[in-house]
């Protein structure tokens, strides 16, 4: 192949692969981005009802209840300003504790119950999941503004 042809072929190849990659990325990006909402935002109706999203905050003390099947757990997630009920079927992660931070992914039902498909546990005992920490921080800031 002559250098000129080779360069042309190379450009065509690169553009073709790049085009496919960009198409795949755009397609996957739209449907697979998971947004995060704090309980206050959910209470204000900012969260979508049609797609899955994440919530975060603290597990309210004394709110954990286990259903009769032994596998479904109900608990309340709060950002200290607003709280919302969550249900999850399955084994909760080791670090799930009342009064500790939690992040859950799932969908909001019409009854305002958040059905979690996943409860995330990638944090250690002393460390708050960043989403949960920011939810509480936001809520407390908002409360302070109201008091002032």
């Amino acid at each position: 192949m002559k250098p000129r042809h080779r360069k042309l072929a190379l450009i065509v190849l690169v553009l073709a692969v790049l085009g496919v990659a960009v198409a795949l990325v755009l397609n996957a990006f739209n449907s697979n981005l998971v947004f995060f909402f704090s309980p206050t935002q959910v209470a204000n109706g900012e969260a979508p009802t049609s797609r899955a999203f994440r919530i975060g905050g603290l597990v309210e003390e004394g709110s954990t209840r286990r259903e009769a099947d032994g596998l479904t757990t109900r608990f309340v997630v709060t950002d200290t300003a607003k709280s919302m009920p969550v249900t999850y079927t399955g084994i909760l992660p080791d670090l799930f504790k009342e009064g500790k931070g939690v992040v859950a992914e799932g969908r909001l039902g019409p009854d305002g119950l958040f059905a979690a498909t996943q409860v995330l546990a990638k944090h250690d005992e002393n460390y708050m999941p960043p989403e949960a920490a920011s939810a509480i921080e936001q809520a407390q800031k908002a409360q302070l503004t109201v008091v002032e």
Partner: protein, 658 residues
């Protein structure tokens, strides 16, 4: 006393690294042999003093010296000895020290195995590695001193994160770092070539075995990390597309592209400029990975911003290394001569396609990893990019690359004949298609993704077979003689490709046919999963060295025949009071049976239990091990050793390639 000694050794190591960096580089530029000769002893001395510092830190951990802050935070008096040793690199400071130590090790290896290099080349390579050492040692000493004292000393330590108390974690970080940091050698070779202006074929031959070895270590490190996550996080997943995983996967993708483009540069003298650029990119991604995992930017963009000293240093260092090397590249690369030509269908063109596809895949992973950070840093909200994104992009991009993997090794350099390859591979294509269509039927229902996976795995395997048949047709002697006579480079490549096929087959099955159940189990009750019966025999109290546990007993049977008795544990660690699920696994070559305890439900001893059936999961680790062995084998090929003894070989090649 010992920690101060370690601190002092680290300072001396920094001074030696400065010497190792400056004098040889100046010497090489001026042609001063005396200055260049400083490179080797300085590198070895730097390694020695870093090793002393590391030994001092390890000693502090082993002897439970809780007057050292690092020890108090990350260790515990009841921690078993082996984990006290690994706690040495469990912390931010310790792991950076391990990074520098690994770099010292590689620098010393280069200083020993570089006798065949021209003196100025060796001096430049070692000098560039010295510069990197300077950066990291300065970072350690100014912002992350592992020997910081705690006054008054702590009574006891906070204990190591229970998740890390696993033997997969003993060797995972050192292996991963051997890979990450090993790419510094390829980087140093590339910079040295740019500095000297001698970007000939010889440097590709010199840096190729180093790159392949680093790649093999990185493969092993990633495999261990995945294996650890699978067993220890207790959720049976083996890859989460988590940013910390992507941090090590991105250099791996780029490194894979690099070992392939180095092959073209070494054999044909083509892709010279691209290969140099790729070497710079791979190490930049290693640095980015270190930055992502070690700066705390992943856990919180804001936490990172509140500790500006560390973050600013790493970011500045990244900017200098990446910016500097790219500027040097932009200045020098136009002078590189293109190698010999090739047609649209040749091994070169196929390897080029490999590189283009790998780069696109790398770009998609990079985007998915950095985009949430970017959005958060801009204050536009919090989002996460989950596994579905990566699967939806990565799998379709890699499938054609895997298909080409079957053809590449069969195509001739420069000008291959498509009809010839088609004739040779027709049968293989037929068999692979049949495998892809029929094999899923024998499993639990047809699945297009599994079908694609089987097709590709069979295709690559048959291509490996075809390559061996092709090689064995020629030459004399018995079959074994001929097999033994094949070059190790050939063996290495075929083993690594076969490993990929094994891994792809494993992924195709485990991703599509795994089953799991969360069940409530009373003592004596049983549950069924994938043809296995699990009978729960209750739990007993069990005391570990630094934890208490409820230890369950589950009897697993199949068609009434006992298969295994498993003992999953629910642990509470004494120091932190944190809970940890220790899963129990019964492996064999076709499946893992995996159980984990959830929570105790009542006083009668009922528990929630999670049961998994993971078919073919072990093929993933086997596949990766094949790649590791293949990498080491290829790097030990005779021709690199011949080049060691006869320096005229590179020169001759240089003439040919130019």
């Amino acid at each position: 006393m010992i920690p101060e000694l370690g601190h002092f050794a680290l300072i001396i190591a920094l001074l030696l690294a400065l010497t190792q960096a400056i004098l040889p580089l100046v010497g090489a530029q001026r042609g001063n042999l005396t200055l260049m000769a400083v490179a080797r002893p300085a590198a070895q001395g730097q390694f020695l003093f870093t090793a002393i510092a590391f030994a001092c830190l390890a000693y502090s951990f082993l002897t439970n010296d809780f007057s050292v802050e690092n020890v108090a935070r990350n260790s515990f008096s009841q921690l078993p000895e082996v984990y006290r040793l690994t706690a040495t690199w469990g912390s931010h400071e310790g792991s950076l020290l391990l990074w520098v130590l690994t770099l010292g090790f590689w620098s010393t290896a280069v200083s020993v195995f570089s006798r065949h290099l021209p003196e100025d080349m060796a001096a430049r390579v070692i000098g560039v590695m010295g510069l990197i050492s300077v950066g990291f040692l300065a970072f350690l000493l100014t912002t992350s001193n592992p020997f910081e004292r705690l006054l008054p000393a702590a009574m006891d330590g906070n204990d190591m994160n229970p998740l890390l108390q696993d033997w997969g974690m003993i060797i995972h970080p050192p292996m991963l770092y051997m890979g990450y940091v090993g790419f510094a050698v390829a980087f140093a070779f590339a910079i040295a070539a740019l500095l000297s202006g001698k970007m000939d074929v010889a440097w590709a031959r010199w840096s190729r075995p180093w790159t392949t070895v680093a790649w093999a270590f990185l493969t092993f490190g990633i495999m261990l990390g995945s294996w650890w996550a699978y067993r220890e996080l207790g959720w049976g997943g083996w890859w989460f597309w988590d940013p910390t995983e992507n941090a090590s996967f991105m250099p791996w993708i780029a490194g894979t592209a690099l070992i392939h483009s180095l092959a073209v540069t070494e054999k044909r003298g083509a892709f010279k400029a691209w290969t140099v650029l790729l070497a710079l990119v791979v190490f930049s991604l290693s640095l980015l990975g270190t930055f992502l995992v070690r700066s705390g930017v992943l856990s919180s963009v804001h936490a990172f911003a509140t500790d500006p000293a560390r973050g600013a240093f790493i970011l500045g260092f990244l900017a200098v290394v990446i910016g500097g090397s790219l500027a040097l590249y932009a200045w020098r690369a136009p002078k590189m001569v293109t190698g010999s030509g090739f047609t649209w269908f040749s091994r070169e063109s196929l390897l080029l396609a490999n590189n283009v596809i790998l780069m696109a895949a790398l770009g998609s992973v990079l985007l998915g990893t950095l985009y949430p950070l970017f959005i958060d840093a801009m204050g536009l909200g919090k989002i996460s990019v989950g596994p579905p994104y990566f699967n939806a992009v990565f799998v379709p991009l890699m499938a054609p690359a895997l298909f080409l993997m079957g053809i590449g090794p069969l195509a001739r350099w420069k000008d291959a004949s498509l009809p010839d390859v088609v004739t040779r591979m027709k049968w293989a294509l037929g068999v692979a298609l049949a495998t892809g269509l029929l094999l899923p039927l024998t499993l639990d229902g047809f699945n297009p993704w599994a079908s694609l996976g089987f097709f590709l795995a069979a295709w690559i395997t048959l291509a490996v077979l075809a390559a061996f048949i092709d090689r064995l047709k020629h030459g004399q002697g018995g079959l074994l003689q001929k097999l033994a006579g094949l070059p190790r480079g050939f063996w290495g490549m075929q083993l690594a490709h076969l490993g990929m096929a094994i891994g792809v087959a494993g992924i195709a099955v485990v991703a599509n046919y795994s089953t799991e159940r969360d069940v409530r189990m009373e003592v004596g009750s049983y549950a069924e999963l994938a043809g296995y019966t699990f009978t729960f025999r209750g739990t007993t109290e069990h005391d570990g060295p630094n934890y208490r546990a409820a230890r369950g007993t589950l009897e697993v049977s199949q068609n009434g025949k006992p298969v295994a008795t498993l003992h999953p544990e629910k642990r509470i660690y004494n120091a932190s009071g944190s809970g940890m699920t220790e899963a129990a696994v019964h492996p064999n070559i076709f499946r893992d049976v995996y159980v984990a305890l959830g929570e105790q439900l009542d006083d009668q001893g009922a528990w929630t239990v999670r049961l998994f059936h993971k078919p073919f999961i072990n093929w993933l680790w086997f596949g990766a091990l094949f790649m590791v062995v293949g990498g080491f084998m290829a790097a030990s090929d005779k021709r690199y050793r011949i080049a060691l003894r006869r320096s005229e070989v590179p020169k001759h090649l240089a003439a040919q390639g130019a």
